[in-house]
Chain length 215, copies 2
């Protein structure tokens, strides 16, 4: 992989960069997109920003700190992908059908992002230590909801339309999420990696159906 002479900006003339934090974050996102969390390397980010390695420390406390910022961005993009999928299926239907379509869209958007932006998806769930799912605004999508909240909203509609008895509502997001997330993992770097994408789509639909039926 020739990663050396890439995206080197035209040798800035000013001493100050001007917007280094954003530049580093952008480089980090690009790196993650190309090669996952492992590929986020501080020195390469500074190289792409045209700046000395240590300059990064004025904006990020450590490599881990940069990784975390990229992670937030990835989660935000994931939320956007889910919202896009939800918006796609907006038709006039019965409340019940709408609730079903909504939940399916949440799952489908999640999977689409996982398979389309694999590097970012992996980064979004890369955890050296434990991860808190705080209400960090940097992780939300355009709707103001993060991925977890989007799923919760979809399940609330299930209860609202009587598709899910209220006593089974608590913690239901974890059942749904488990299935879809696990499936994504198995496809991305598990035994389903070699299965043709056409078949994947079918199995993915069955995973979502299993959730609808079994939740």
């Amino acid at each position: 992989m020739a990663k050396k002479l890439r995206t080197r900006p035209p040798a800035r003339t000013t001493y100050r960069h001007g917007d280094l934090r954003r530049a580093l974050l952008g480089a980090g996102i690009a790196l993650a997109r190309e090669g996952g969390p492992h590929a986020i390397v501080l020195r390469e980010a500074t190289r792409r920003a045209g700046v000395a390695p240590n300059a990064a420390y004025r904006h990020f406390a450590s490599r881990q700190d940069l990784l975390e910022a990229v992670r937030s961005a990835a989660l935000s993009e994931l939320a956007n992908a889910m919202e896009a999928e939800i918006a796609k299926g907006r038709r006039a239907k019965s409340a019940e059908e709408a609730a079903r379509a909504n939940l399916r869209a949440v799952g489908a958007g999640y999977l689409r992002f996982a398979f389309t932006e694999t590097g970012l998806f992996r980064t979004a769930f890369a955890t050296p230590e434990l991860l808190g799912f705080t209400g960090d605004p940097a992780r939300k999508g355009k709707s103001g909801l993060d991925p977890f909240e989007l799923l919760s909203a979809a399940l609330d509609k299930f209860v609202g339309t009587g598709l899910l008895p209220p006593e089974r509502r608590p913690a239901a997001e974890f059942l749904a999420w488990s299935a879809v997330h696990g499936f994504a993992m198995l496809v991305i770097d598990g035994p389903l990696h070699t299965v043709p994408r056409a078949d994947i789509e079918g199995i993915g639909a069955r995973v979502i159906a299993m959730v609808e039926k079994g939740i």
Copy 2:
């Protein structure tokens, strides 16, 4: 974390180590158990074996090669954990109840291993590149089946006892696996990390129930 002066053997007197490959593999497994795949570092393994860093290259082509060997060992231990759980529930029951208990045991064993041997579990599914689920004998448990085969066998019994219509059998392992694997991931380093273990057990049972019902 004081990781330095650990398990240094008593300064071997012979030039040859005698059983270096096994020693390195053992050190690698210990490292993985303590800190996951990330913690498997070649130089540390050689240090623990009391040998120069390069000596490792007589037995493993690269760090990745050692990682792979540890991975196989981890998968084998996972299979053992699953088998143990299956054996626990062996009582005289109807074939149907036995099939249900079998599938639940497969899931429960998987989860138990994931939560008990987190480092090894993470290692088992760490994939820098893509991973093939070959019939590598080093990955099997005592029964001669690897984790995937154990799950397949459990599902076959479901079909055999009429609990699962044959037309839904194909690829069903991926539905079941997705749910349980995803749940493990969410607990290990996802948003469920902070949830008390008592509650986790309950949600885990519901995940498995969802699979039984929704598959």
